[in-house]
């Protein structure tokens, strides 16, 4: 289980240097975006390499290329044109491209940059994690620094991890009605620690509803991974 963020991006440094090349930067970015959107997971790495070899900014490649493609895919998912599994293939393509671009990303962090951190996992007693993975991917795409604790996660771990990394958001997922009460416990733990206002709790999964969210006093419920992005941004006040 990977609990370190896959993508650490300084969003305040988007300026790219324009160079004259045979294939324009816009064309190459489009190509990157399309690789993700069209589910061409096998071509994404090559497209990323072509982009870097052309000498363009890695950061633009990520945000205006790969992430753009993922956002377009998310839009299609919302319109029922893409299926859950399609999004998973898109994300494979995105990560393949990211692997190539990552070593070229600027390391310096802007002191003023706000890093939105989010702890995510499937609550204790449940091992179904496809939905959670999708939310992690979409939030990561949206620029969150994700700490994925995996599945069947002991409830206290969510609170401890959030404290450790100073996260603003905890995302809890479950597919089973039997493990839903764990979500309530996490909310209560945060209340006890006096962190309830500082750390927002977002919940989701097959049997979850807005009513349940209200009942356990969680901060929000999203019906799917795309809704989760909008809600997460709203909860942490991300522009």
């Amino acid at each position: 289980m990977d609990a370190t963020p896959l993508m650490k991006i300084n969003r305040n440094n988007l300026e790219g240097k324009v160079k004259d090349m045979a294939k324009s930067k816009e064309e190459l970015l489009q190509q990157l975006s399309d690789c993700v959107f069209e589910m061409e997971d096998e071509n994404a790495a090559d497209a990323a390499k072509e982009y870097i070899d052309a000498g363009y900014e890695a950061l633009d490649g990520v945000l205006k290329g790969l992430v753009d493609g993922m956002n377009r895919a998310g839009q299609m998912y919302e319109e029922e044109e893409y299926f859950v599994t399609d999004l998973l293939v898109c994300s494979d393509a995105m990560y393949n491209g990211l692997e190539v671009l990552r070593p070229h990303l600027p390391l310096d962090q802007d002191a003023d940059a706000v890093n939105y951190k989010c702890v995510i996992g499937v609550v204790e007693g449940d091992t179904h994690d496809i939905g959670k993975n999708l939310v992690r991917i979409m939030l990561e795409t949206a620029g969150f620094e994700m700490y994925d604790l995996g599945r069947d996660v002991s409830l206290i771990s969510f609170v401890e991890k959030a404290k450790e990394v100073d996260a603003q958001l905890i995302c809890l997922s479950t597919l089973m009605t039997t493990t839903m009460p764990g979500m309530k416990e996490v909310v209560e733990m945060l209340e006890k620690e006096g962190l309830k206002d500082k750390v927002k709790v977002m919940i989701g999964g097959g049997p979850i509803s807005q009513a349940y969210c209200d009942q356990i006093n969680a901060d929000g419920y999203a019906v799917n991974a795309i809704g989760a992005v909008t809600l997460a941004k709203e909860l942490v006040g991300m522009a």
Binding site: E80, F83, T127, M176, T177, T178
Partner: protein, 600 residues
């Protein structure tokens, strides 16, 4: 002169030791027939008897050769090779081959040897000179060392004819008169959705009647997890409510069959139950909570043989029993053990895949008798739930669909009524046709009208709801539409089942081509034609010509548990031989799930 006794058949006769004949011939002379295909030439090894008491000559070389070690340990001998000369007590093992077929499925051959049996006795009145207590008279006549207290209280004892009712070697009841011909049992399959009971004549193995009903626990939740959550929320009270719901149903169903057959329910002595693990916990009133959470460990899996009264089952003899078949784990219940046993997976030398399709799909792969199983959360879509036009398989439900380029959609509706919606088999048939005629792409998308040329026959069936595309397959009181969401529901179920299928085949290092047979089990599976199973990609096309159906093998397993102690023993052994593959933690499962979501 010496005697030979067959206590279970209540037969005792004398024989002349001077004749020096084989036991087989001595029995035949008494009109007691046991299977002997080779005619007593000691070459077939079929004339098995069980040695219960008295002296027998040591095991002959032929017997050692023809009997298994297990049989020898159990006292099995071959009647044609024994030349007795003392008092003997034996049991014959029925091996009839042609048992009546239970409706609703295939029944394998079995050794008829029910746990419940009867023995009629005669009690003569004690005299003033011999004041032997009745207790002792009954013990002697029944050939038992101790008359249990609860049996002693059951009836007023006196002279006359009585019948002892035994559960294996335990006396469980006494009845006035000779009732030895009247012996009934009930085989039960408790599914999450449906409950099926069969009234069985334990003397003949015949299924006399059967009754099916919706599981009354549905009021507490549609699926297993919701019902477990109900117990989680309501504690002991919730557990009692769920137990009462199912036990009351069973009482009613048994009563209904008895009334129809004009049979007193007091002549039913045993109810054998096969069910999934959660249902078994619930019918016995055992806490099911641990089943619903990782690591998914149930409270119990072993077989249970208990008093029916203890769980409130009253529509049978007051001393009746409940036998629960053994399970493997939370997700491989007694229903699957029963199915695997009925399909004889443990005996197969080839490669066979057994699949029970329902809300949870359970799959067992036998690779030459080595068993590995998995469970996939298919969700209720395949049973017509969570589908916009979905309904139960009742009048007005579309159960089959065909698309014809000129005639359009041809519907087969249950009860020949106006179509109202689609039941499980109907939704699968519809998706199958939509795929076949390219209304839906391999990725599960409904085609866009703008991508079709003018005059394309598909155009007239695509119905637009804003940007969303739906397919209209017929019209009843309202349009019957297949939405993109419906396709996705089926796609999820199909991905779940197919990925489990592939994961098991991979785990055994096999390919589809290696499979010799794919057995589809379950009430629901029986209604899904091969074309739909393969056409929607629930099962791979490569196994199309190797798919067979076994019916409600869970109930058949319960039937076998009623009729044969040997089958019980074998099922208990089988349950311990299963390996289990937990898909959600299998490496690469997510990727496999993605691959299996394609309709190709």
């Amino acid at each position: 002169m010496r005697t030979i006794a067959l206590p279970r058949q209540n037969i005792k006769f004398t024989y002349d030791t001077d004749i020096k004949d084989s036991l087989l011939n001595i029995l035949i002379a008494q009109q007691i027939f046991i299977e002997s295909p080779c005619g007593g030439r000691s070459s077939c090894g079929k004339c098995k008897i069980k040695h219960l008491g008295g002296d027998l000559p040591p095991l002959s070389v032929d017997e050692e050769k023809r009997l298994t070690q297990k049989e020898i340990e159990e006292g099995i001998r071959l009647a044609c090779l024994i030349y007795p000369n003392t008092d003997l007590e034996i049991d014959i093992i029925d091996q009839e081959e042609n048992h009546p077929v239970l409706t609703g499925g295939y029944v394998p051959e079995y050794q008829r040897n029910p746990a419940i049996w009867k023995k009629p006795i005669e009690i003569t009145k004690p005299t003033l000179t011999d004041q032997t207590p009745y207790e002792v008279l009954f013990e002697k006549a029944l050939d038992i060392s101790h008359l249990p207290w609860d049996v002693l209280r059951q009836i007023s004892m006196g002279e006359g004819t009585y019948t002892g009712v035994f559960n294996q070697d335990q006396l469980i009841g006494l009845e006035k008169g000779d009732t030895s011909e009247l012996l009934y049992g009930v085989a039960v399959d408790i599914g999450t959705t449906t409950v099926v009971t069969s009234l069985i004549n334990l003397k003949t193995g015949e299924e006399i009647d059967s009754e099916a009903a919706i599981n009354a626990q549905k009021n507490f939740g549609q699926d297993v997890l919701t019902r477990i959550t109900y117990v989680l929320d309501h504690g002991k009270k919730g557990r009692n409510q769920l137990q009462t719901a199912i036990v009351d149903s069973l009482n009613e169903m048994i009563q209904t069959m008895c009334e129809r057959q004009k049979l007193s329910s007091s002549l039913i002595y045993e109810v054998a139950i096969a069910a999934n693990c959660t249902m078994m916990h619930m019918v016995l009133g055992v806490d099911p909570l641990s089943i619903g959470k990782s690591p998914y460990a149930p409270i119990f899996v072993e077989e249970k043989d208990i008093s029916a009264k203890e769980i409130g089952l009253t529509a049978l003899s007051s001393f009746g029993r409940v036998y629960c078949l053994p399970a493997v784990s939370s997700y491989i219940g007694a229903d699957i053990v029963a199915g695997a046993y009925v399909a004889k997976l443990h005996d197969r030398k080839d490669k066979v895949l057994f699949i029970d399709i329902g809300t949870n799909g359970e799959i067992v792969l036998s690779n030459g008798g080595k068993l590995v199983s998995c469970s996939c959360a298919a969700g209720p879509a395949l049973e017509g739930m969570n589908i916009s036009s979905g309904m139960r398989a009742a009048d007005g439900a579309i159960e089959e669909v065909h698309f014809h380029t000129e005639k359009g959609f041809i519907l087969k509706v249950i009860g020949d009524k106006t179509p109202v919606g689609l039941c499980g088999s109907g939704i699968l048939a519809a998706i199958r046709e939509l795929l076949k005629h390219n209304f839906i792409t391999v990725r599960g998308n409904i085609v866009k009208p703008e991508d079709l040329e003018g005059g394309d026959p598909r155009l007239s069936y695509i119905d637009l709801d804003g940007k969303k595309r739906r397919i209209c397959i017929g019209e009843g009181p309202t349009k019957i539409l297949i939405t993109q969401g419906d396709v996705r529901q089926v796609q999820l179920a199909k991905s779940a089942i197919l990925s489990g299928f592939v994961a098991l085949v991979n785990a055994m290092d096999l390919t589809f081509a290696d499979l010799d047979e794919v057995i589809v089990a379950g009430q629901f599976g029986a209604h899904l034609p091969v074309e739909s199973l393969v056409g929607t990609g629930i099962l791979p096309k490569a196994v199309k010509d190797r798919i067979t159906y076994i019916g409600n093998s869970s109930k058949t397993g319960a039937y076998l548990a009623l009729m044969s102690l040997e089958s019980r023993q074998e099922m208990a052994t089988l349950a311990k031989a299963f390996d289990y593959l937990e898909l959600s933690v299998t490496k690469g499962y997510e990727r496999l799930f993605v691959e299996c979501s394609q309709f190709n």
